[in-house]
């Protein structure tokens, strides 16, 4: 039987209450959202929280709403809710592509977007989704609030720039016209972590030229989006040659390693092939006016 080491448990009654508990709990106080990363880690004693602050009652952190040119998503929004949202699917189809292959439907009933981003797992799909769409995250502390690009949230594998006592409360995705996106991953079996995955967003001008684009890769040692891939796309008409050049640039920027999921060479091949596919699909979707 896997059992976490003992900890204290507190249920936050508001965001301010959670921040107070975090501040008073010190170094080993953790927020508990969906628990599908933290509890497995605690069972394996990779995490040894002294205090778990359960934020599942904070329904004011669970929402998806249009806020001008942004889609604002509360940190406690579950994977299943993102997948059920027509607005998410319409504005950010890559998020639905990704959500369909994140774990399984039962896990998606519990796991949250805020938890996923703060776990900062290099194989986590939503981190790439957020990088690709140019997400911002809202971070609150006691008496403080700051908004930063999601690329500044991630400091490295399993590491964020959150200070002790801070919590992520909202994820914001910018909405752009004539823009669409796609995500695709290769996994060893259904619901597994990515061997490699790619996400892309493409913005077309009125004449069909690519005026903006981004490509991100999952599980191959790349943080943020890949500038060289963007440079190969912007100003070009969408074509197989252009997608191939961008995908090769993305694969060249990847830093995969050999592991049980595959060789570095195989993952680099996937980075190239999956980048082509998501660019193709994102451009088609953008052209069809979604």
């Amino acid at each position: 039987m896997q059992t976490p080491a003992p900890f204290e448990y507190a249920r936050a009654t508001s965001i301010d209450d959670a921040l107070r508990l975090l501040a008073e709990g010190g170094e080993d106080a953790y927020l508990l959202a969906g628990g599908h990363s933290l509890l497995p880690m605690a069972k394996l004693r990779l995490a040894r929280p002294e205090l778990l602050i359960d934020i599942n009652d904070l329904t004011d952190l669970s929402y998806i709403r249009r806020d001008g040119d942004w889609l604002a998503i509360g940190a406690l929004t579950r994977h299943a809710e993102l997948l059920a949202s027509g607005e998410v699917g319409e504005l950010f189809p890559l998020a639905h592509d990704a959500e369909r292959v994140i774990a399984d439907p039962v896990v998606r009933n519990r796991g949250t977007i805020g938890g996923s981003l703060c776990q900062a797992d290099p194989a986590e799909d939503l981190s790439t989704v957020c990088d690709v769409v140019g997400a911002e995250v809202v971070i609150r502390g006691r008496g403080s609030e700051r908004t930063i690009p999601v690329t500044d949230l991630h400091a490295g594998p399993y590491e964020t720039t959150l200070a002790r006592g801070e919590m992520l409360t909202e994820v914001r995705w910018p909405i752009h016209a004539r823009t669409s996106s796609a995500y695709e991953k290769v996994e060893r079996r259904v619901g597994d972590w990515a061997v490699t995955a790619a996400g892309a967003s493409v913005t077309l001008g009125s004449d069909g030229t690519i005026v903006d684009a981004s490509i991100g890769l999952t599980a191959v040692g790349v943080q943020g989006t890949i500038d060289a891939a963007r440079d190969a796309l912007v100003g070009q008409q969408p074509s197989e040659q252009v997608f191939a050049a961008a995908a090769q640039a993305a694969a060249a920027a990847s830093r995969p390693s050999d592991d049980t999921r595959g060789t570095a060479e195989y993952k680099r091949h996937l980075a190239d092939e999956l980048s082509r596919r998501v660019l193709r699909r994102a451009a088609e979707r953008a052209a069809s006016g979604s």
Partner: protein, 188 residues
Amino acid sequence: MQVTMTVNGVEVTREVEPRRLLVHFIREDLRLTGTHWGCDTSNCGVCVVLVDGTPVKSCTMLAASAGGHEVRTVEGLEQGGKLDPIQDAFMEKHGLQCGFCTPGMMLTSRALLDANPDPSEDEIREAISGQICRCTGYSTIVRSVRWAAEQEQKARDGESAAGSTADEGTHETADHETADHETAGATA
């Protein structure tokens, strides 16, 4: 710490360690061993229970987090001596072999039919994709869920047909069909 929740319509209160996982709380503290305990890593899905009607892997939820919520286990499917249509279906269509995955499969299927009374085969396969049947009896599980959907549809048709002509003679089917609502109502 003390935790209070509703399990199969009955309010229960127990003293637990905060680290107590919901699956062990159900099996060992409540002695409801119909909920199975498998991989312990949220992969296999044999520990699935419904929390407020939603399927959850109970090896990856604290009992403390279930406090104040409604939990439904396989023991709560049967209502008033009548099996849930999902249970009838698993018998009728041979939806089980060894039975280890069956409680979780039936609860996920119940939640699916409550949300989507006429699921396609693909939708059923998607819904149970977080659960493993090591007998690999998926085809018969899918057939079982379809059968239950059809039985429930027939019961509803019978109910509305009877309801439009007379108010009598529908108690059998109505009882069967309102099992869920009774559970939801039995929280006091």
